[in-house]
């Protein structure tokens, strides 16, 4: 190899740097790790989804209950107002009738 020329050096380097296969089972091991990694966050995702959906439903039920209570209170107030108004109107009517009979 005196005066080793560039072409010979290129050939020697390509030969020395030839690709080699990884150890047997490498592919399966990496795939196994990616599966574990993919599945490991799934239960957490399910828990998070359950909490979000459950929280949303709970909030909705609570909101409906508050609306119902408010509605019933408003209805009771209205009925009371109507009763008071009705009583006053009856009183006024009686006063008018008594005055007319007096004339």
């Amino acid at each position: 190899m005196d005066n080793l020329d560039r072409l010979l050096l290129d050939r020697l380097l390509k030969e020395a740097m030839r690709r080699q296969d990884p150890p047997v089972g490498f592919e399966a091991r990496v795939l196994g790790m990616t599966r574990r990694r993919t599945t490991s966050w799934k239960p957490w995702l399910a828990i998070a989804a359950t909490l979000i959906i459950g929280g949303g439903l709970g909030w909705q039920v609570d909101q409906e209950r508050r609306d119902r209570v408010q509605g019933e209170a408003a209805k009771a107030k209205l009925e009371l107002a109507l009763r008071i108004t009705s009583a006053k109107l009856q009183k006024i009517q009686k006063t008018i009738e008594a005055r007319n009979q007096g004339i």
């Binding site: 020395a16 740097m17 150890p23 990616t34």
Partner: protein, 181 residues
Amino acid sequence: MALAGTTGWAAEAVAAALSFPDLLRNHQSMVFSIGLHFLRDRAAAEEIAQDVFLELHRHIGEIESDAHAIFWLRKVASRKCIDAVRRRKLRVAAALESVPEPAAREDRTDPMLNRRLQQLIAALPERPRMMVLLRYQEDLMPDEIARILEIPVGTVKSTLQRALGVLKEKLNRLNGEGRRG
């Protein structure tokens, strides 16, 4: 996955071609060999290759084509190898000048010659070593090496030239001593 402009069967074909198991199967030798030739340690090379593919799995949505995957894998593998050597001082050989020189053999495919040549390459500093590896293992041109290592192409050319000069000188010296012996 970035498949802009690709629709229907073409998009399905691209997506199918980019499945992680296929990328792993098709490119495992490339990634493992980058680690092996750089570190000269099978266990460390396997560990690096494993890390590279796990990182690919995390970034699979960013990969646009098989060519992009190859570029990405070479880039990440190169970076991880250089980092590993710098961090863990995995350099197997000492300085290039102190590498013991073997008896020369004329047979080009001699496994002993290959091994000694690999030792000479392993004794190069990290950057020139990776350049020689990418040039001869991956058959890349200096501009491609420059993009992978993110350095100017002029630096790649001059560094490769120097590294090859050193390797040539070493091999010539081996040959001379072999003949004398």
